[in-house]
Amino acid sequence: MSVIFIILPIALALGAIAVVAFILAVRRGQFDDLDTPPMRIVFDDEAHPRAGGSQRRDRPHEPQGQ
């Protein structure tokens, strides 16, 4: 059972990594707008997608206010 001395810190470290990732995401403004993304998913059902429709999955640059 002594393995718990190693496993527990590792588990907590993994959790810490997730927290750091969350903090970075918040600081980059990914959570600034929580209302538009739920509307945007509707658009994937588009009948005839056009240029520019699917190439912007991620945020290419940040809004102001860093």
């Binding site: 059972m1 718990i4 001395f5 527990l8 907590l12 959790g15 997730a18 927290v19 969350f22 903090i23 918040v26 600081r27 403004g29 959570f31 600034d32 707008d33 929580l34 209302d35 538009t36 509307m39 945007r40 509707v42 658009f43 588009e46 009948a47 005839h48 056009r50 240029a51 520019g52 429709g53 912007r56 290419p60 640059h61 809004p63 102001q64 206010g65």
Partner: protein, 822 residues
Amino acid sequence: MTTISARIPASLVAAAPCAHCALPVPAGLIEAGAAQQFCCNGCRTAYAVIRSCGLDHFHDLARADPTPRAPARSTGRNYAELDDPAFRDLHIRPLPGGLLSARLTVENIHCAACVWLLERLPAALGGVTEARVDFRRARIELVWDPAAVHLSQIASFIDRLGYPVHPVRERADADHQRRQDRAALVRLGVAAALAMNTMLIAFALYGGALHGMEPRFEALFRVLSALMGVASLAWPGRVFFRSAIASLRVRALHMDVPIALALGVGLGSGLINTIRGTGDVYFETLCTLVFLLLVGRWVQSRQQRRAADAVELLFSITPSAAQRREPGGAVRTVPIEALRVGDIIEVRAGDSVPADARVIEGATQVNNALLTGESRPVNASAGDSICAGSVNLGAPIAAEVLATGEATRAGRLMRLVEESSARRAPIVTSADRLAGRFSAAVLALAAITAALWWSTSPGRAVQLAVALLIVTCPCALGLATPLAIVAAVGRAARHGILIKGGAALEAIARRGTLVLDKTGTLTTGRMTLHDFAGDPSLAPLAAAVEERCVHPVARALAQGLPPSAQAVEVNLVHSLGGGVEATANGRHLLIGSLRFVRERLTDPAEPDWFTRALDEALNAARTPVAIAEDGRLAALATVDDALRDDARASIDALRALGWSIRVLSGDHPEIVRRVAESLGVPDAQQEGGATPERKQEVIEALARSGPVVMVGDGVNDAAALGAATVGVAVHAGAEASLDAADVHLSRPGLAPLVELSRGSTRTLRVIRRNLAVSLGYNAIAVALAMAGLLNPIVAAVIMPISGLTVVLLSCRSRTFGAGPCR
């Protein structure tokens, strides 16, 4: 003598839906045989543009969306000011690769289909590489290639789709706000992670407590949970300590004090027990507590931010461009920020004046209603000063800029607003008032518990006292109030009442003095026809002539007089500040102020009925409009700023709810007196001719003897709104008043005010119920602690259950939009 009281006949018959916005097309506009019907030209243009770009999918999406839509409303502007260097310096950011980026506020975004359409901009317009919509803030972020397209072209394209755009005008502290929002979210995330991980470890400890555990493992678990507990209180939980210390410093207890007390005691005793290696530790309860309290706070601030954003949007869509005359004589559209003292500006009829200025060419009338509350237009000719924010009603003028931005009269009033808001005492909420008594009671109970158990075992006595302190504080105060307020603010927003500060609800629920502005609040703020005396055959002709003018009195006649059955052929001879000379169907007419018409009469005889009607109008403080045919007086129309339809009923309802009603206005004392009288407000409770400074003074004097709610719309009310316990800005007011007010009614009329009063009473009831429920849980916890039955497991179970109950109760409560108060 004939009297006609007429309205436009309601000829809107729903027959076919508009192909663009799906609203019913008015009967007169239906084209027989056409495949698509349109309710207006805006929709027709938008439909054509969307089809030609191959974006037909918009209409499929829009049909599937149940959100009510609005007709496309393009302005047809060219947006030249967006290409001005002054705008570029302020709003456009260069990106690597020679691209430019800017954000614009977009009016009229109402559903997912709008988002879809606007984000397809790169496919529809060459040179645009990216378009991203922020739905809540009604903004679009554009990236474009300046070599291929200008921002003004993009803007007018979006406009043709039916979405007028405006430069983003953020409040000065928007950046700071955004940083705070993000910091709050980070705290929430960290608190959540720590709460879950300590809970995980706590489960192991509970298991160990029941079935036995090797001491070295137990020591490890306790040390790890202590570390996380310290982290949770030192980082996300720090806000409670900081605000508790601030509250102690000003000697005003609020609910963060008992919270900080519980957290502090829990942390201290937990650390001591961890180091000693025996005794209970409550880190999982503390971490969960921090997390739950932060959730309550975050949800509340998010809901209030929504209201603030809606107000900011209104702020953005006020005109922000000026017509500047360049040295060469050409006129250019420039952003307001580019204006300098000494510039020559042109103000077209119907536009608002962008800066304080002195008229140098032309003569006109301006409406100062927003600045002074005066409902009647004021003459302005060469040499006269006009203020930023007033509206040019008559003819185009040229003027020299005297002051811009903060230095204008409107700007100075805004500073007054800030000062009065800063001076006002914060609203003491019921939770805050409870906090003091609650802390005292909890401390006393802890002391009693310790005393009762001291004889049995001093160690056990201290442990139980500590447990009681930890388990009693929590959700009672920290979660119950914010959640009830969030639910109420959310419901209110759906009913057109935007509430910026939750504490305002409690202040309103307590009632007191309600002070109402007149122009724009009790009245519509627009001139409407009251009476028409004289030759009835002139009425439709006068309506047709006045149709061509922008003056509010002219608009009142054009809309109030019965329209002609046949087309009227109108020739304007000339139109000046005071009136208009025209021929209509070959009949020569003079329509305008008494002075204007009298000066041009060929036969100065004044008929008896005319004199009588005129006296009556002047006595009642209405504005007379004389109409002469062939140089002889032929009719008299009177207009006034009519009371809102629901004013009387709403005021009666408010009085029945226990408000003391007062009227305070900057308009002419006689008009104010008459309006107050018609609403049943006694003479002593009304005041006319009040300057913005006077209004602030009156409110401050009233506020000394009890809560005051001020309701107003103009810049002239802003300082008073800021000084009142709660400021309420009504529909379509000036941006300054929106800024100063705690509540904004986005529906026209006074009925929302009644609903606000009833809704806040219900909200207060919900808050009290939540507090009662949480205090009930606390009573159980206290009983358990005093009986010696409280341990970390029981604490960890009681807390989330009490939190959950409060959440459910808040969500189920009907506060706004639930009909009359029981």
